[in-house]
C-alpha cells in the first residue's frame, strides 16, 4: 500500500472481469427491488398467453403446431421485447436525465460495463419469462416441446434481447425520465401487435401483413416460431440479418442522442 513511489506513472487498473461481475450483480439487485419493472415484465406476457394462447386457443391447430405452441413462441418474443425495452429505455432515461449517469461516467467504470449490465439484466428476465411461459403451456395448454426445441427457443429469446436493448437505449438517450415509459408503450404495443405477436399474423389484415417485415419484432417472432417447429416465413438467417441491421441503426441513433447531452447545459 504505502509504496515510496508516490507519483506512479501508470495508474493501476481495477480487475475488469470483477468490475463487470459487480456491475451485473448490483444491476440485478437494483432491478429486482423495483416492482414497477418486475411485475409487468413477468406477468403481462404470462396473462396474455394464458388468455389468448391457452384459454381461447388451446389445442386448435394452426398450421403444423397447436395454437398454444404457436403463441408460446410469439408471446415469448413479446415478453422479451418488453423486458428489453422497458429495462433499457426507462433505466437509461432516468439515469441520464437525473444526472446519475454522469457520476458513473466520471468514475473509472468501463462504459461498456454499464451497457453490459443492463443487457445481462434483460437476458436474465427473458430467460425467466420463457421458462414461465413454457411451464404454463406445458401444464395447461398441451404444449409438447422437445428439450432441444425448448433450448432453441430460450437461446433465441436470450439473443433476441440485443436489438431491443439497442432500441431501448436509443429511446433512453432521447426521452426525458418522465416520458420514457409512455414512449415505450406507444412503440411497443402497436409494433408487437402489427408484427403478429398478439394474434397470429395470418388473421391480421393484409395491409399489416405487408408492413410487418419492416418492423423489428416481426423478425424475432418468426425466429421464435421456427424454433417451436411452426412453418414461418423466410430463412432464419434473413431474420437474423434484419435484426442485426436494426441493431446497428438503433445504436447509431443512440450515439447521436447521447452526444446531444453535451450541447445542453443541464445534461
Amino acid at each position: 500500500m504505502s509504496s515510496a513511489a508516490a507519483v506512479t506513472v501508470q495508474t493501476p487498473q481495477a480487475n475488469p472481469f470483477r468490475v463487470y461481475g459487480t456491475e451485473v450483480k448490483y444491476e440485478f439487485l437494483k432491478t429486482l427491488r423495483q416492482p414497477a419493472y418486475v411485475i409487468p415484465t413477468l406477468t403481462f406476457p404470462l396473462i396474455f398467453y394464458v388468455m389468448f394462447g391457452i384459454i381461447f386457443g388451446g389445442k386448435q391447430a394452426l398450421g403444423s403446431v397447436s395454437l398454444s405452441t404457436y403463441m408460446l413462441a410469439t408471446y415469448s418474443a413479446f415478453g422479451v421485447i418488453g423486458a428489453s425495452l422497458f429495462g433499457f429505455a426507462v433505466g437509461v432515461a432516468m439515469e441520464r436525465g437525473y444526472g446519475w449517469l454522469q457520476v458513473k461516467r466520471a468514475s473509472p467504470m468501463p462504459p461498456l460495463a454499464y451497457l453490459a449490465a443492463k443487457t445481462a439484466m434483460a437476458m436474465i428476465f427473458s430467460a425467466i419469462l420463457v421458462i414461465a411461459l413454457f411451464a404454463a403451456g406445458t401444464a395447461f395448454g398441451g404444449v409438447h416441446l422437445s428439450l432441444g426445441r425448448f433450448l432453441g427457443l430460450a437461446g433465441t429469446m436470450i439473443g433476441g434481447t440485443i436489438p431491443f436493448c439497442a432500441l431501448g437505449l436509443a429511446i433512453g438517450c432521447y426521452s426525458a425520465p418522465n416520458s420514457a415509459p409512455a414512449v415505450v408503450n406507444i412503440l411497443f404495443l402497436p409494433l408487437s401487435f402489427c408484427s403478429g405477436l398478439w394474434l397470429p399474423i395470418q388473421i391480421l389484415p393484409k395491409l399489416l401483413q405487408h408492413i410487418a417485415p419492416f418492423l423489428p419484432p416481426y423478425h424475432l417472432g418468426q425466429l421464435a416460431l421456427q424454433q417451436v417447429g411452426s412453418a414461418a416465413a423466410g430463412h432464419p438467417l434473413q431474420h437474423v440479418a434484419a435484426l442485426a441491421a436494426f441493431t446497428v441503426a438503433f445504436l447509431l441513433l443512440a450515439q447521436r442522442g447521447f452526444k446531444r447531452d453535451d450541447v445542453s447545459i443541464n445534461a
Partner: protein, 305 residues
Amino acid sequence: MKEEKQVVASLSGVTKKFGEITALNNVNLNVRAGELLAVLGPNGAGKTTAVRLMLGLSAPLSGKVAVFGRDPRTASARGRIGAMLQVAKVPETLKVKEHINLFRSYYANPLSLQSTLEAAGLTGIEDRLFGGLSGGQKQRVLFALAICGNPDLLFLDEPTVGLDITTRHLIWQQIRRLVQQGKTVVLTTHYLEEVDALADRVIVLNHGVIVAEGTSAEIKSRTAQRKIRCATRLRRNEIENIPEVAAVSQQENRMEILTAQVEPVLRELFILDPNLTGLEVTNSTLEDAFLKIVETKPAAQEMTA
C-alpha cells in the same frame, strides 16, 4: 510565497459554448497538487462546466484540458479521480453499502468499506436503501462515492448545497482531512463562508471568464474596504464628493459607504452632518468583495435580465 507545485489538472485557453451561450471564454486554470481550490461564482458563471470539462464529461470547443497530463477521458486519469456532482436522483433500490461497494470495485486500491462509511458519517445506516435516506444522508452517500476509490484528485461540485449545518460541517471537516492527507480538491460553491473556511486559493468566475484569482484574503483585500452605515440628511452625491469614498448606496433610510480609509471619511461626514445617527462600521466580508468583483463587468457584456 509557496513554491510552485506540480499542476495536476488544467484548462488551457478553453472555450465552451452551448448553442449561443458562451459558458467559458478562453479560460486558463491550473490546479496544483495538494491544494484546495475553490471555484466561486454566481449561478450560470461556468463553474460546473469547468468541472465537467476536467472530468471529461464534456469536450471543449477550443483549448486543451489535461488531468495528470492526460486526456481526462482516459481510464488511467479517471482511476485517480473522484467526483461528487449534482444529481437529481440516485437509484433508490440499492443499499448504501451496495452503492459504495460498486464504486469501490471501479478502483484498483480503494478504501475499505468501513473507512469510507466512517469518513462520510454513514456508519450504522449502511444497510438502508438509498431511497429511504434523508437529504443530508443522500448527499453523504454521494460524498462517499467520491472518496471511496482513494483518489488523488477530488472534484466536489457544490457539495453542501441545501444541506443542514451538521452535515455541512461534517463534509467540511472531511474535506480538510483529505487535504491534510495530501489530496488535491477542486470545490465549486456559491457559499462564501465555505470558501473562507476551506480554500487555499479562490478563482472567481463570472459569465465564463475568470474575474479574480488569489487567496481568499487577497480577494478580500483587492476590494479591501470597510463599510460605513448611517442615517444622515446628506444626499448621495454629497457623500460621493468626499475624496476617500469608493462607493455609496442607499438602503432604505440608511446610507452604505464603502471606503478603504474609514477615519477621514467619518471626520468629513460629521462635519457635513453633525446630527448623523445609527453609525455602524463593519469589515467587508468575502461576500462584499465577491459581489463587487462580479458586479464590475464591462458594459459591453451587460445582459438583459
